[in-house]
Symmetry: C2
Subunit: 450 residues, 2 copies
């Protein structure tokens, strides 16, 4: 049977997976520091739920059914294409067991039958945080969530990430203020700015019924981007006023001023950001890696007035999601990151001969008891060959049982030695006390600007 | 749309998920201490590969296809039902990039369309370690792998796990030695011992063509179970000899004696264990939780002479797999484990009024900078209500900014206080120096024998 990769389903070699694990560890650790417990949802949802939510009717859903299927009575199932639809269902299903406002993080794979391309996969990992409440959701959560993500990014070995924030009430109020009533239609056209440029957007707006002057005003609004609160003055300079616009400006000012106080430089007000036209109702977020803006957004989200609803109760929420696979795929694909070794093992314990393997195993056990990952050599080959075994995997130390000078007193077993195979330095060592430098204990993630 | 759980697809509440995370953390940490790097494989494999390997033709495979399917040219895909078939494919696909002997661990979900029942799921997590080599695999790996699992179990908050070990060459050589040539057929009947008992097994063996004496000998062999090396003498007392039997006894002696030296009590020789009749060729493992033997095996595996083959090269391997979801489902289902709280947050920082939220956020930031997970209260409610918010989630500490006595000197902001809401004790505290007792920093996993 011929073996070929399946397009859109990436797999990593062990050293790449170490980079991925490092990212996932930092993401989880930061989410937990901010008090977001983890949940996981099943991979499948009923297809009618997948089709009914999430806005885009063209999500390419993977259906799932037993090959030996005989359960015509069962609901048709599909793999989830994001973590928001399953989370909304989980909240409704478990509302009686959850304490609200309910915070959670969720890091799982999702599947989309899209056309694969650079940074676009059919199976990929997302890392989400959301806060959901019953009936009403306090606005300060819209300021809190991007700060959590800013902390994640500051701890990852990547360049500077900038979270661009807008509030949907700003374009909405502004459009109403200049007499444009088709807010969604207008937003949908302005949202094409990155793709087709301002001249073409202006034409499309005029085609849709706006005056040339209204179109120019829409473009002027979308061009405002500030790192501080001056965006509000710049909007007011356009001479438009509307109560919904004021609401939006106040809300965005609260988010940006919290960013300035807690994570200077991490958040900018960018009035072009629209996102998820059908479900976001307040703050919206997108995130770019500085210097790689063309790669698009790696972390997006916003506020929903109705994340979930069971007909009687409505659950508003706010959430942000990191596209982990997209980010990693691009960073690894452009050789911008690598792991210092392809195994967690820090030490290879050499084996003198097969009979003395138990001695080597005892050394390994002593090292592991103090948290030092290690491996016993697979064969009692010549030491040069055992060193090459370590070298090929990037294991920095090789331990030689009995290679040292015998201690004083007759009958004592000779001591051990350990060699740093990078420098060649070999020293006496005792497995009950020796420790590597902290930076060698676990694989390092090394960065190089491509 | 009515919301109902999908049978066989379990989901956890946040507190249960904390128990699962604890298990997965210990499993990964132990695997890494033993030098097993992680890999993950895609969730899908070509259906013909899933059907062709793994032995059981009756694995209930879930097929996967795009609802908007138009790719008739693409291979038919299915969700993997274990991690061995994907690993074997991964080894063949990446052989040129891997260093052999290749060790890896893999912790992922798998899917089987089986009839759901207690401890049997349609979506569940397995945690595997394997070592695979090219052409030949050194036998010491068969002794090493169960020691890794024994260390995992010793660090989990569960009762005693006993790994039962056998070597397939023992029954094979023994059967040949008493003149029984249908080894697989005989093993298949003896394998029913747990289900139908010795009398019925003896009858079936006689029906299959064995003499009553041969049948009794088979049962006598299967009854041997020892914690030390005496199993070999007990086999020899049965008066049977065959070179393959001797090979098997020597191999099993090496595994058990390594267990006695490195993990006393964790391994037993149990000559009844057969497992995976079609593919295991040497050592085989099963694992029982002492006192809950009826729950069956939680950790099984063995040696394959041909884990994978591309026609030219054969890759022998040895592997063991923990059924994480099965184990957790039973322990949680029988209330034998619980988490001390439903959130990672150790501290809730109270909010005096909405205007002073930034003060509370600064406290939280200072605590997080020193690794203390915390959350800022959602509302500036009465303190009693904020304390109840913490209580409901099991958060042990509530922090009150400015509740302390003002420091000396005019204009100083009053200091903070922190309350242990379990004891009610409230003391002065400084966010840049205060730390909880170590056992409160992260949720504890609490055990109760059911």
């Amino acid at each position: 049977m011929k073996i070929t990769p399946i397009s859109g389903f990436p797999e990593y070699l062990p050293a790449e997976r170490i980079v991925e694990q490092h990212f996932l560890d930092i993401i989880r650790e930061t989410f937990e520091l901010h008090g977001f417990p983890s949940i996981e949802t099943r991979a499948v949802e009923p297809v009618d739920r997948l089709l009914g939510k999430g806005g885009d009717a063209d999500k390419e859903i993977y259906g799932v059914s037993r090959l030996a299927g005989d359960e015509t009575a069962d609901a048709e199932l599909g793999l989830h294409f994001d973590l928001t639809v399953p989370f909304a269902r989980y909240v409704l299903e478990n509302a009686g067991h959850l304490a609200f406002p309910f915070r959670r993080h969720q890091v799982q794979k999702v599947w989309r039958g899209e056309r694969p391309q650079e940074g676009r996969y059919r199976e990929f990992t997302q890392a989400d945080i959301d806060v959901v409440d019953v009936g009403e959701l306090a606005p300060h959560f819209e300021a809190e969530l991007p700060l959590v993500m800013a902390e994640v990014f500051s701890r990852l070995p990547i360049g500077q990430m900038v979270i661009q924030v807008n509030n949907r009430k700003i374009p909405e109020g502004f459009y109403l203020g200049i007499g444009v009533t088709d807010v969604i239609g207008t937003l949908r056209i302005v949202d094409k700015l990155d793709k087709i440029g301002p001249a073409r957007v202006a034409d499309l707006l005029v085609e849709s019924g706006l005056t040339r002057e209204q179109a120019d005003q829409c473009l002027a609004l979308a061009a405002i981007r500030t790192e501080d609160l001056s965006f509000a003055d710049r909007v007011r300079e356009l001479g438009v006023s509307h109560p919904v616009l004021d609401e939006g400006l106040d809300a965005l000012s609260r988010v940006i001023s919290s960013g300035m106080a807690n994570a200077p430089g991490a958040l900018v007000a960018d009035l072009r950001i629209a996102r998820g036209l059908d479900y976001y109702t307040g703050t919206v977020y997108e995130t770019q890696l500085v210097g790689h803006e063309a790669w698009g957004s790696f972390c997006s989200g916003g506020r929903y007035d109705s994340l979930a609803s069971d007909g009687k109760t409505t659950y508003p929420g706010v959430g942000i999601s990191i596209g982990v696979s997209r980010l990693l795929g691009l960073l690894l694909g452009h050789q911008m990151l690598r792991a210092s070794r392809s195994t967690p093992a820090c030490v290879l314990v050499a084996v003198n001969d097969e009979e003395s393997r138990p001695t080597s195993t005892r050394v390994a056990t002593a090292l592991r008891a103090r948290g030092i990952p290690c491996e016993v050599a697979p064969k009692p080959a010549k030491f040069g060959k055992q060193i090459r075994y370590a070298e090929r995997r990037g294991i920095p130390y090789v331990w030689f049982p009995g290679a040292g000078v015998a201690a004083d007193g007759a009958g004592d077993r000779p001591g051990d030695q350990v060699k740093d195979i990078r420098s060649g330095e070999q020293v006496d060592a005792d497995a009950s006390t020796w420790a590597p430098p902290a930076e060698d204990l676990h694989p390092q993630i090394l960065r190089s600007e491509a």
